[in-house]
């Protein structure tokens, strides 16, 4: 506490009187108005995470000659105790990694490699997907009434598998899409990926590529989160667009925006998680996933062994898992690009097991710096 900004002579002159007046007022003595008022320290915060109370003494403004009607002084309230709902608050973010969207590699769809594509064998209850090339892949088949999503590298499937085989009137063909990551050439700094789209021939149970894209995604969080931009060329009916595709370990509780009717625009998860976020001017995209220690183990195994892990079990409860968010904001408007910012947020719940995330947190810290 420092001295009021009074004139020096006034302070000297009043010092003694001031102390005595303060003694009288502060100890509950005379309540007559004097030149000194003592500020109160009546606020007592809650016991937990309590802010410190500052007890201060101060000279408040001089009494005016004609004070207006003023209610008596009162203590402010103290916090209500107890009866709070259980549960945890949002986990606090450990770090945010800012990344430059414009610095990420760009890939463009091109003619499909004849060596890409996939096939499905087996029955509706037991089936096997074989993809050409060294990919751990996510495959989406858009059937008339349902979608079939499957990831190689584990038992990650959703929806009804197509009933393959010849039809008397000819087997239909359904639109199909896939994205894959490869253990070959996988480093902390980059990851080989392939995206494909084509037709699934129900008669032969084969996914035949029409267009594909191979590229090397760059690390956003080294070893854990990779991204690349994908250009969709304009057509006479579509102005084209740019998207950010992000690959990261298998997530639970994956939430993201995107058009559910555009198969590769919504997020999907299996042996890895693929996020698609718009980066056209005037758009934003965001996603959040929970990453369990087991999912990080699966990710590490994919990279190290290059082999699938068939018996993966998700955690029963995800609220104690690390929360990872990805945001991209692209300002401006079409034809007039503005600022673009990307962020990866990592938050560790209070009940998470930090050692299990040590490598990821370390990578995030180094990327953030």
């Amino acid at each position: 506490v420092t001295r009021l900004r009074l004139g020096r002579s006034a302070v000297r002159t009043w010092s003694v009187a001031w102390i005595f007046a303060a003694l009288a007022v502060a100890c509950g003595g005379s309540r007559r108005a004097g030149p000194v008022q003592v500020a109160r320290a009546h606020f007592l915060p809650s016991s937990r995470s309590a802010p410190a109370v500052v007890t201060a003494a101060a000279k408040v403004a001089q009494a005016p000659s004609t004070p207006a009607e003023d209610p008596p002084g009162a203590a402010g309230v103290t916090p209500l105790e107890g009866d709070l709902a259980g549960g945890e608050p949002r986990p606090s973010a450990v770090k945010a990694v800012r990344f430059d969207v414009d610095m990420l590699p760009v890939a463009t769809w091109g003619r499909a490699s004849p060596r890409s594509g996939y096939s499905i064998t087996g029955t509706a209850s037991r089936y096997r997907v074989v993809i050409r090339g060294p990919w751990f892949a996510e495959i989406v088949i858009r059937q008339p009434v349902s979608s079939f999503d499957i990831f190689t590298g584990g038992t990650f499937g959703a929806g009804d598998p197509p009933r393959c085989g010849p039809r008397p009137l000819g087997a239909p063909k359904y639109p199909t899409y896939w994205s894959g990551i490869s253990a070959r050439g996988w480093t902390d700094a980059a990851l080989n990926v392939e995206l494909g789209r084509g037709e699934f021939d129900v008669g032969t149970c084969v996914g035949v590529p029409v267009a594909s894209l191979s590229a090397r995604a760059a690390a956003i969080v080294p070893g854990f989160v990779y991204g690349l931009r994908v250009l969709i060329p304009p057509t006479p009916i579509d102005p084209g667009q740019e998207q950010l595709i992000v690959f990261l370990p298998r997530g639970a509780l994956v939430s993201a925006g995107g058009d559910p009717h555009a198969p590769l625009q919504t997020a999907n998860t299996g042996s890895f998680t693929r996020l698609t976020l718009p980066t056209d001017p005037g758009t934003s995209g965001s996603a959040s996933v929970r990453l369990s220690p087991a999912a990080l183990g699966l990710w590490t195994a994919l990279r190290k062994t290059g082999r699938p892990v068939w018996a993966f079990q998700d955690a029963f409860k995800t609220d104690n898992d690390l929360l990872l968010g990805v945001d991209v904001v692209s300002e401006g408007e079409r034809g007039k690009a503005g600022a673009r910012t990307g962020s990866v947020f990592v938050s560790l719940p209070k009940n998470a097991y930090p050692l299990a995330y040590e490598r990821l947190l370390s990578a995030v810290s180094s990327a953030a710096n």
Binding site: V54, A56, A74, G87, E88, A339
Partner: protein
Amino acid sequence: MRTMPVICLVLVSGACATTPRHPAPTPAVTAQPAGSDWGRASCARVGKRDLPLRVAEGRDGSAVALVRAGQGPLLAYVADADSRSVHTVSVDEKREVSRTRVDGAPRQLLVLPDGRVVATISDSAHIEVLEPAADPAAPMAKLCEREVPVEPWGLALSPADASLLVTSAWGGALTVLDAATFAVKRIVPLPRDPRAVVVDRSNVAFVSHLVGAKMSAVDLGADAPPETIDLRVHKSTPKAQLEDMAALRTGSQGYALAKVTLPGKAADAQGRERILAPMVSVDPGEAIRERAVYYGPPFDGVPKETPFASVVDPSKKQSLGKYLLGTSEGQLARECLLPRAAAVRAKTSSLLVACLGIDALLELDALAVDPFRAERRRVAVAPGPEGVAVDEASGRAVVFSQMGGALSVIALDEVTKAPSVIALDYHPDPGLAQVAKGRQLFYRTDDVRIAIDGLACSSCHMDGRDDSITWATPSGPRQTPMLAGRMPGTAPYGWEGARASLHDYISNTVTNLGGKGLTPEELSDLSGFLLTLKGPPATRRGGATRAELVSRGHDLFVSSEQGCSGCHSGEASTDTMVHDLEGRKDPVDTPSLRFVRGTAPYFHDGRYATLDALLADLTSPMGHSASLPEWDRVALAEYLRSM
């Protein structure tokens, strides 16, 4: 030696502080005697000495404004609506140095470039301009008043300090004044309940709205009508039903706004700033969607009321966030469901949000698409935070807590350090002081006695007003009624009129909300608070033509042909009875029509968006206004607006 007296005082007061005590009442300091014609008085400075100047750019109003005189201590001016005072607090010295009484409840303060202070007086229709004394220990002097539409709330200065902007909450307007002369240049009508205002570098004012998940953009350089920015979002979470994800969520609690400048390379590009609007995203449910709890859809990772900070690209005047993401399986606790004030710390690109209900300041990542998803930390502050300001130079945030009558000073770079709390010279109205506990309960979120999902009474009845939302309930769609100024003499309560007393009504409501229930004493406290809630201040507008219209409208209202006053009678404008208007054995209580103009939508099920639509509906079960000549309907509507 010179500091000795004060040190002695500290020691003395500490030694005697074993029992709570109150000091002698602080002399009230009114800047000038009442009765002056403040509306015509000059707002020009009177003093010659330099005044403390605002820190950093500081062009946005807040309940706390930070100033500094040269190398002197950091001072906080605090708008204390309860005490009808502006406090001057030395933040460095952790003590209040003076208090200035003003003519009403100050809501926000803004420091002009020369050090004068503008205050919005929210229970009136004017702003005040104050001149601090060169010595902060002396009270401020009132220079002038300027009339603006009723319930002035938010303040901002345009770039280069050319224009002073004032939002009027109940008046539904943005007033643009010349910052040099305080002459009104323009009054822009806005959608209901405008609150905070900020101005971007291109001279566009952005105004938050308490209800409706919208923001208004007013181009100050053009005479164009305001644009409305839609802040509604969809939720996205893997456990949600498709129909719930398809629903566009509305919003409420739009009290605050802040601006962030993009750091680094991004700042060189076109979009240099973003407008941040902390609010609450709301899904009130629909009759066709499943309900697992009393109001709204079931919990699926994104509750019916979820904190959300809309990020607006000012250059394109559009919200960047389109989705509210689920991040948790279980219900999160201690959510910021009553965000009241916001400020940005540029150094760390942090959005600081003062959260009523949980009494906390949240530090969020201001560059996130939804900053609430990237919470950096939270700090407990004194009860009832309603204002926040940041001193970039010292890395401190100062939070004003109205109910606690205190400032909390937070060292933003010292994560583990608890905030210092400075008690203010707090002089609440005695009636308000008596219902302080009820007031706290009214704003308390996360209390299992009140609701299962963290809601507070103020979640829907913000400050006793209404959220403009029609909720899906087991009884059908029900519009949130306004409480402030409508409680006395209007029993029974609730749309069904099934509760004879406020006790009963509150008790039933908390049961519906899944709360465990309040004690009789707490119900009394809450009832007491509700009965003291004042309605909006009276509107002063219109001339002879309007008076004529209102008079004609009154005649129609009380005429037996129209039949309005048969039910909406008496001082409280209700016959306190229930009526089966549509013959469906679904009788509803006659609501009070007091303050009806600002409580859209109308009818118990919110079927009418405006009063005009209500009066013009040929199928309306109320009265016969649709058959009136148009001019008479206009008159009737004008009379209703005058109530």
